[in-house]
Symmetry: none
Subunit: 149 residues, 2 copies
Amino acid sequence: MPDTSPTDSPDTRRTLAAKLNHLFHTVHPRDGGEYSFEEVAEALRAAGGPTISATYIWQLRKGIRDNPTKRHLEALAGFFGVPPAYFFDDTAAERIDAELALLTAIRDTHVRQLALRAAGLSPRSLNAITEMIERVRELEGLPDTTEKS
Amino acid sequence: MPDTSPTDSPDTRRTLAAKLNHLFHTVHPRDGGEYSFEEVAEALRAAGGPTISATYIWQLRKGIRDNPTKRHLEALAGFFGVPPAYFFDDTAAERIDAELALLTAIRDTHVRQLALRAAGLSPRSLNAITEMIERVRELEGLPDTTEKS
DNA sequence: CACCGCTATCCATCCCAGTTGACGCCCTGG
DNA sequence: CCAGGGCGTCAACTGGGATGGATAGCGGTG
C-alpha cells in the first residue's frame, strides 16, 4: 500500500482562507487598494474559463467555505498568478519533493533498474540480497557504514 | 490585472481521468495487479481523512466526473503518494510520471536501503545482483515482464 | 440632508459533486 | 454446471458546493 500515513493533525496549518487572504493583501491592482470580490469575479468571467461568484469568493476568504472544486481552484490560482498547489497543504508536497530529490541522487541507471526489480520481493529476500550487496561492497573496498536514514 | 490569460492551453491537455488512470496502472500493491476501487476507498477510510466512495473513484477514472473538491484531490494524491499538483500542472505530472515507478518502489524502506547500498557498486556486480533478483522474483511467482513504458 | 454609487455581508435557492444501493459480469471451487 | 464472492458498472437520490438577489454600511456630491 502506498501512503496511508495518518493525515497530519488539524493543527494551525495555514488554512485556505488565510492563503486567499494573503493573496488579496499581496497582489493588488495598480493603485494601493485591494481587489474587490466583484472585480475578481468579473475578471474571471472575462477570462472565459470557469466563473466564480463574488459571494463565493468572499465565503472562501472568510473561511465559511473551504472545499472548492478543482476548476475553481484553477481559476483562482490563475487569476492571482500562483500555482494551484499553493492552496494545498505543503507538508505532504514537501515530503514527496524530498523523495523525488532522493531519486535524482540515484543517477546510475543500473541501480535504478535494480531497485525497480527488487520492488515487491518479500522482506526476507530483500534482506538476503541486501546482505549480499553488503558483502560485495566489502569485496570491492567500499565503505560499509550502515548509516540509518 | 494579474494573470487573466485563458486557463486552458491550446493543446490537448492530459485529462484528470488519464492521470488517475496512469496512477492506477503504475502504482500497484505487492502482487502485480492494480488496486481495486474498493481497496482505495477502504484505505482512505482507514487513513482517517476524508473518504471517497469507490463508485466515485470509478467515475473520476472514467472521466464521467472531472471536477472533484480540494479535499478529495488531497486524499487521492495522498494515497498514490504524489503531490496534489500532479493533478493540476501537466509539466510537473510528466516529471513525476518519469520517476513514478521508482518513486513507489523506493517507498519500501527495505528497497530503499537496498538501493542506497547498491549505489557505487561496479557495473558487473550490479548486473550479477540484478540477475539474482530476477531469479528470486521468479521463485516468488512475481511477473518477469519488464513493464512497458 | 437626500441621493447615488460601490462594496461587504447575509439569506434563500439551485444544481452538481458525491453517495447509496442494485445489477451484471467474470472468476473459482464444489 | 451451478452457487457464491468479488469487482466494475449503472441509475437514482442526497447534501453541500455554488449562485443570485437583497440588505446594510460608507464615502462622495450637489
